[in-house]
Amino acid sequence: MNMPSNTLLEVDRLAVEFRTRGGTVRALENVSLALAEGETVGLVGESGSGKSVLSFAAMGIQDAAARITAGAIRFAGQDLLAKKGAAMKALRGREMAMIFQNPRVALNPIRQVGRQIEDVLARHTDLLPAARRARAIECLAEVRIPDPERRYAAYPFELSGGMCQRVMIAIALACKPRLLIADEPTTGLDVTTQAAIMRLVRELSAERRMATLLITHDLGMAREYCDRIAVMHAGHIVEVGPTEALFAAPRHPYTERLIAATPVGAASLAELAAIDGNLPDLRRNDLPACRFAERCPRRGAECERPLALAPADGASATHLIACHRPLTAAATEARHAAFA
């Protein structure tokens, strides 16, 4: 794969497994993804497709049962998987930060929010307590929280969900990280708050030229906020490309179905198509090379051959798919022209 020269995060052929009582779950396999500085990339897919597993692995906070069996993760040229615990912890929260869904339960319920920001500052900076407090209040102001001095002493239960998410963003951005991973940051918030939070994330990312990985199952949101989009299915990245190209001419059948299943893409509810079948059981030993094959209307004999991401025919070099029988650009463009 050709990488842009200013690559910040690079996930290279990563494989992650979970050993469970019921068998080994092959949660990620051969996953490659790169983020350049200042770029916002969307990671989309159904629940259970491995989006969070990927982001947790990148942050080094994966579950104890998770094992990285192959591949590499590089951040600003450093091999993250080779880093010892302490070195990795020093990176987390300072260079790379993460915000989560359901902000109300993602904050310590019995600690003042300002103190929670200070905890991060105390860990990663040499600020003295008084300066830490001032900086924490500044962080609250940066995420547009009104009256930050007073809100410093608030507990999460005293704040709305949107406010809690702002606090979480303040915690994540307190040390001015170069990479922000936002794991469904608007899940659990009401619609107007969702938009406000996403605008805030976009503004702050632009201001600081911060790379942002937005994990979401909301294609409309990904389309609105992301430069590029990666589509995940059952632990594989099946398609990755510039947002507009991907929406205008999805080449992987799964992406095509996903877009058709989203209100943004379909003209009417009648045209909203559900995706047949479910994600395959990732504990199976006989998982096909293409994990979408069993749900795919276009599958053929060649679909059992090994598969890797490669530039799609007739698309730009940055538009990659993992499919033996992709849709042709012309066909999908014609269909989607109707909704454009």
């Binding site: 942050m59 930060a97 991060v120």
Partner: protein, 337 residues
Amino acid sequence: MIQAILKRLLGAVPAIIGVVIVTFVLTRALPGDPAAYFAGPAGSTEAIEEIRVKLGLDRSLPEQFVSYVGDLVRGDWGNSLTTGQPVLAEIADRLPASLELTLVGLLLAVVVAIPLGVLAATRPGSWIDHLCRGITTAGVSLPTFFTGLLLAYVFYFLLGWAPSPLGRLDPYTTAPDFVTGFYLIDSLIAGELDTFVSAAKQLILPAITLALFVLAPLARMTRASMLGVLSADFIRTARASGLRPTTVLFTYAFRNALLPVLTTLGMVFSFLLGSNVLVEKVFAWPGIGSFAIEALVASDYAPVQGFVLAMALLYVLLNLLIDVAYGLVDPRARLEA
């Protein structure tokens, strides 16, 4: 904060009323006719009638209740037939001994149980987790009076490490001047180190006996609560922020895990105060428990009723303290109060 505490105090009022009603009912349910009982086996019919009037037993139950409550408030909890002393004075005299034993027992249990529970929760499946499991299941199965005897046999009779299990001090030591009634503290205040050592030696076996019994619920709750908290979303946030493991464990996980443990402490106190009676009997500990047992054996009921009431009030008070402590740890509880 003061306001919150006052509100909690008010919240304890129904419990106190309930306790007083129950003890009243228990007093009136004395076996046979209390008047005949107080008149003694030789009492004539007139004498019994006289006592009946004197005790107010001829009046209606509500009237009797009012005068009962009046007596309680005035500090008249009746007299012990065996010692002839007012019950309240006897209880006040012996309470420090019981409290000292109970609190040291609780302290020992907490000091062992909480780290054990935390370690078990942070290393699930490890030997310490299995140890914790074993202790929690075995611990609740121990009859306190039996463990007490066993400890006395091993450490006094076999090994000779502990003094003879009789009372709070060995016979050659005199009690320190009364300040708090806790010998450990009073002896230090008086600067009598020998007395302190003697008191500590006497205290250690009964305190361990108590601790062994309440260790189990505490460790079990700490482990369960810690396991729950460690998988909470905010712990993941803390880890994603790169906070040090110790910060995550103590500032984030442990303080949150403490809340259910505090709630359990109410139940633990119930067990402690109950087992205290048994342990006092085993170690001839001169507290209110052995006082009540002596009275029970002598069919002397006023001290028994006084003991039940005192224990219940003490328990209500302890629960109140737990509530206040809970409010200190959990800001949400402060708001509700």
